[in-house]
């Protein structure tokens, strides 16, 4: 279980957010709301352990993530708003590398299948630089079909996706939650769940109310 309490983050001497706390159990999805610049991405990256918070604690299974970096990383998938793709590699190569980085060895065939399910049939072995933005996003997201990590932290996963692809992504998320996974995401799109629970967290609400 992911437990967060009293989290505070500063960027460039400016306090982005403070006293953020929540608790995420198996099968739960956390929506992160907030206007531009409210620190959504910073919070997600803090939750991954990429940024050290100035105050507060993040506990995974009751233990601070700083004390179990590698164990925590093994249970985590982070997809940022950058696609982390190499333009010169093909979709299959990119997918296999990103899975290998997360500790999963994936066969060519399996990677090929995952890309096909993401609707990239016929584009699997093209260098990703010739793909469109939406197609690149799909290559990145194909990792979710393979990776067995429990906690998914997704930064705007729906950007650049068309209707079909975002519906497919929704179904992937639902399946993950139904299987006892956890998801934290920022998005402008609502996800309808058939099971599990949705939690919400609004960043920078004080400023928001002023407006």
């Amino acid at each position: 279980m992911l437990e967060v309490a009293g989290l505070q983050c500063e960027r460039g001497d400016r306090c982005l957010f403070s006293d953020v706390g929540f608790r995420l159990q198996a099968g739960e999805l956390l929506y992160l709301h907030g206007h531009n610049g409210s620190g959504k991405t910073t919070l997600l990256r803090t939750l991954c352990g990429l940024i050290e918070p100035t105050a507060g604690k993040i506990l995974w299974q009751g233990k601070s993530i700083r004390k179990q970096r590698e164990e925590y990383a093994a249970e985590l998938v982070y997809i940022g708003h950058k696609n982390a793709l190499k333009d010169d590699l093909t979709g299959v190569e990119n997918l296999r590398v990103s899975c290998a980085l997360d500790g999963f060895k994936v066969s060519r065939q399996k990677a090929w299948n995952a890309l096909e399910r993401m609707g990239l049939k016929g584009h699997e072995d093209l260098p990703t630089q010739v793909l469109s933005q939406g197609q690149k996003r799909r290559v990145t997201l194909a990792r979710l079909l393979i990776d067995k990590s429990r906690l998914w932290i997704l930064d705007e996963p729906f950007t650049a996706l068309d209707v079909n692809a975002s519906q497919f992504l929704q179904s992937i998320l639902q399946k993950h939650l139904a299987a006892g996974g956890m998801v934290i995401l920022t998005t402008h799109q609502e996800v309808e769940l058939t099971s599990g629970e949705i939690k919400r967290l609004r960043l920078g609400w004080k400023k928001h109310n002023d407006v």
Binding site: R45, C48, G49, L50, I51, E52, E70, E71, A73, A74, L76, Y78, G80, K82, N83, A84, L85, K86, D87, D88, L89, E93, V97, S98, A100, L101, D102, G103, K105, P127
Partner: protein, 222 residues
Amino acid sequence: MFELFRVIVQRDLLLAMRRRSDILSTLFFFVIVISLFPLGIGPEPSILREIAPGIFWVAALLASMLALERLFAVDYVDGSLEQMLLSPQPVFILVMGKVLAHWLVTGLPLVILSPLLGIQYDLSNEVLSALLLSLLLGTPALSLIGSIGAALTLGIRGGGVLVSLLVLPLYIPVLIFGAGAVEATVSGLGGQGHLSMLGAILIGALVLAPLATSAALRISAE
């Protein structure tokens, strides 16, 4: 653990193969710098023989430093670096993999080509082999030490110039022992002492530099 190391090395080599101009530009920089010196100094063989060790080593230093810029910068910009830092393996394994691939692509070709260029300077076979050996031991150390600077200056404006400011002073021992080994061979004293010092520096860098680089990467990727 070794699997990840292999994946990283393989990936970076594949990327370099698909974009060969990056490899070649470093190599040609080295070739051109070395070929320019006789034009500036004059073709007198006895002078060239004397200054060859210093010129080869300074050129190798500059070439390795120029190549540093690409070590982490591309991964940083496209977000791959974050994924690497979130890997469930120790980060220094990753750093070692990246530095090894980087050296294979930018350092090794230069080492292999150096005896050929040495002929321009009228060096004897014995001196050529000392040059080859010293570069073979020294350039990986340069890549390792340089990776610290590259990691510290990630994403900073004017990072390229800053890297040279940070890294060149740290290169000095490698320069001294590397050029010294060749020089000692030229003067007939034998370069074994220098070469073993270079080896010691390489081992030290192999142990310490990846740790410093991974700490620096964590800081820079925040």
